[in-house]
Symmetry: D2
């Protein structure tokens, strides 16, 4: 990989993003996220060659939120194997991230593991009768191992704030429970889920953590090759909720976004990219993060297609 060209692309994009006059809207549904200053942008790329390139605020920790769904899914598949797919589907939902409509029409089987309902089922699978602390230790341990960085942590305040305002997630979890697709009390699974979402890391750390999805020699070997491909396929088709098709159309890369403004994108065989900017677009994905990812994919001629 031409790292000089890549560094130049990152710098150019970062300069352009920092000059933006529309940074999007910071998530406002919990106070802990609402008070993040919006005008921040950072990007980091971990290459299959083992290099790390960054630009902007690549070392500022942010709330990973739904980006953690990728790691949780990898863990749950490791624990349950293909039996997980009896509890959650693999199709794009065509609906918003927090929609409950599909759940009623399809009797409590979420369409895919990246919408909220599906991610709650995944965390419920990981919980598996253990005290939440143990499940969280496994999740955090996986992310730390992937990043090779034990300083990644869970922000309890964000988790508690989420719990206090997470009525829509409580609606989903209770509905799943009513349909027999939640093994623990909703407050137990959600307590775990909110703490998982409250993992904080920087773009640099996230790019490192994503290396196991590149599928190249020398990368952290946490998941077997066929499963890596499947995780990438799910990220491409379902990683941005009802904006997934649009993101695939524009960037051609598998990726997962979070309401904290982070996006993890994978360039199979080549790189793991993390971008962060806390202001969101209408789909609830990072506004500048999405734009930056599209510019980077174009500049580097990165696309799976």
């Amino acid at each position: 990989m031409d790292t000089a060209r890549l560094q130049q692309a990152l710098d150019t994009i970062t300069t352009r993003m920092q000059a933006s006059d529309d940074w999007g809207q910071v998530a406002s549904y919990i106070p802990e996220l609402a008070r993040i200053p919006p005008r921040q942008f950072g990007i980091a790329v971990a290459t299959a060659g083992g290099e790390m390139l960054t630009a902007g605020a690549a070392d500022t920790p942010f709330s990973a939120q739904s980006v953690t769904k990728v790691f949780a899914l990898a863990i749950a598949l490791g624990r349950a194997g293909d039996q997980l797919w009896a509890r959650v589907g693999r199709e794009p939902s065509g609906s918003a991230f927090n929609s409950i409509v599909q759940l009623e029409y399809e009797q409590g089987i979420p369409r895919n593991p990246f919408i909220n309902a599906g991610a709650i089922v995944v965390t419920d699978e990981i919980l598996s009768g253990r005290p939440p602390k143990e499940a969280l230790a496994e999740i955090l341990g996986f992310v730390r191992a992937a990043a090779g960085d034990d300083s990644i942590y869970i922000n309890d305040k964000v988790a508690l704030s989420e719990n206090a305002h997470g009525h829509r997630n409580y609606a989903l979890a209770n509905f799943l429970r009513a349909c027999g697709n939640l093994r623990h009390a909703p407050e137990l699974t959600l307590g775990t889920y909110f703490h998982q979402c409250a993992i904080e890391l920087s773009a640099r750390q996230l790019a490192r953590a994503g290396r196991f999805l590149i599928g190249a020699p020398g990368m952290p070997n946490l998941v077997a090759r066929p499963r890596i491909r499947r995780l990438n396929a799910l990220m491409l088709t379902c990683g941005h909720y009802d904006g997934s098709g649009e993101f695939a159309f524009r960037t051609g890369l598998p990726a997962k976004s979070g309401v904290g403004g982070g996006i993890l994108a994978i360039v199979p065989g080549r790189a793991s990219v993390a971008v962060w900017s806390p202001g969101l677009n209408a789909y609830g994905n990072s506004k500048l993060g999405t734009e930056a990812m599209e510019l980077l994919a174009r500049a580097m001629d990165w696309s799976v297609f």
Copy 2:
């Protein structure tokens, strides 16, 4: 009213019902209701003339459940007046009693006060910042006053059982809360709601309690005449969930059913009828109760049309 003819109709219908070979299925979602012996049938009519006629097990108390929604609505309208209609609609929903789909499409405004979501909003309105005990005292007090019978009570075990298994109602309440249409914590409003539903009374007591809806001189004067009409209109269009049109088509009477197997029907100007049989049909309404009500309406030529 020809009370001899009415008594004969009640007796004939009761004999026929007791000979039924299909009593329907007792509600099984909570243990407290699941263990009720199904082969029971009772009916009672309170006439505008002040008479009470009964047949069968008219003095066996049963769980009123959703039949209480009528009384709660009368109370909430008394407290909030037409402002209540900003929080809940007046249209048939075309959906099951516990559906959450409509709630998402219409941003947390339940279609009507008789589906579960709407009834939860109504109870939330009655709660009004008070301790649940006070709200429950008002609700129970209203039913007792309507029936003129202070022995009507709340079965705490049923309420607690409902609370332990009411995940779908928790889903609805949390969704309402997420939409800003629930003023109290979901567990507070639902605690009140489950206790309201756990009111127990006999067919005789229920028929007496329904007299205020007849709209005739000498009946308990709890609600003004125009509101009585409106309550009856809502019962006719929405009282049996997605089986409301069918019930109106067959009996021509405003009525409200409950999952405990009770049905309260009003013959405007003439009578209040309560029927009870715990086995349910596919819509979740009393199987023999529905059939008996249709036979009675035909035998007495009772219909609002």
Copy 3:
């Protein structure tokens, strides 16, 4: 009936309506209806006692449109009996008059005979393999017989205009056909349907035509008593599409509206009321017609409840 009081009510209401500063919006989807001057209002009452009282433009013919669905349903039930209910339901739809969503979810069985999809099935049942002319002769003949007035006619220009702009009805008819619930080619059934809707009559004629639904001695005996009740029940629960609950709540009377601005309401045992004003409200029902009906019901203390 106190006809003097009734006449006075009609006059007062008419005066008040004529002073309105918001007449609603005339239906604009076909040119033939769009050019009707909006500021017109007429009302007529045919009493069970055989009297006819009118006020305003009670002799101006207007396009009956969906009001004809009541007459068509009476005819189809006469032909097919209860077998008709295998093709169409009896429940309020909770959806707009021309919605196709419910049809897909319920495999081509329309919720009730008064939404467009259901009315198309009803006309298809009447058509019954005959040339459309014969079916139309039966429909027009029924309305004329009910009104005792052979001058009622079909406006071909309106029918042709409807046919040229009726893509949504063509979508419904083709969908029904695809589901196996339409016996004729869509253009054949719709040709008949559009001509049925294009029947024109005045408020006076419509009030007379509705007398068979009053269910009182001396009224035209076109339909047996139990069926009259059922037709009224359907009008009350489904007669105003997704505004049916609201209309029942406000007036307490079974009624059927049409996009031409007409409403036929029945006061069981007492009267048939027709009101007309071409401007519509948001539900597609006559704005002043709806208001006038509510005022009249209140003034005369008319309500089935």
Copy 4:
């Protein structure tokens, strides 16, 4: 590319498929397709290196049906550019290929160009006021040019059969027209659409026709590189209707299926693959074709991820 290994994979897969004891169900909705013998299987690969490898019935012509949607989309984008996206979305629908529900909720804008509603809009865009014959000449010309084979033809009998039984497509087209998203009379656009779908070619011809989507030097240069990527992205996210996520999960390749049993899959930069077997699975995609594609992707280690 190791063509010896590829040929061996094709032969092994074909032998295995031919020994299958479940060939799926041939499409039965039109007589012309229903009478195709089900036990047929053919596969062909056109490599970026210019080679053609086949196995099984690779020279039997079959009805391309929805596979033509890819070519039509390429043409429409060539004509209208990004303005096309004002008429049709780019998101997976989460619904069946012929669903009309989403169309009503989203006011006549189909979710993507590969579900029927979206493909009808695409053909309507190509039609562009011209006689259908001219539009069809352009579509057939494009496919012939892509394949470098002027013997590819349209089967009129299939088109006429489709027209006679295509009520659901007529429902979609009329609904689009009612929403203002169809520029021609439904029968005109659908006449064109049905003829487009009736293009017949063999697996060999289809594999050749798909080469312009490989995006490699020396391939037919019909569409610019960025657009090739976008077409592939849409095929991956939306190419198999509500089975798109599953197909992407299993094979990791962009592909488009047709009800005639054909599938065109692209291995970006490397190959264009066509497989055909007329029996379908529950999603309406070729049963053995889907299985074969998964086996081939695994055998050749082909995946975009």
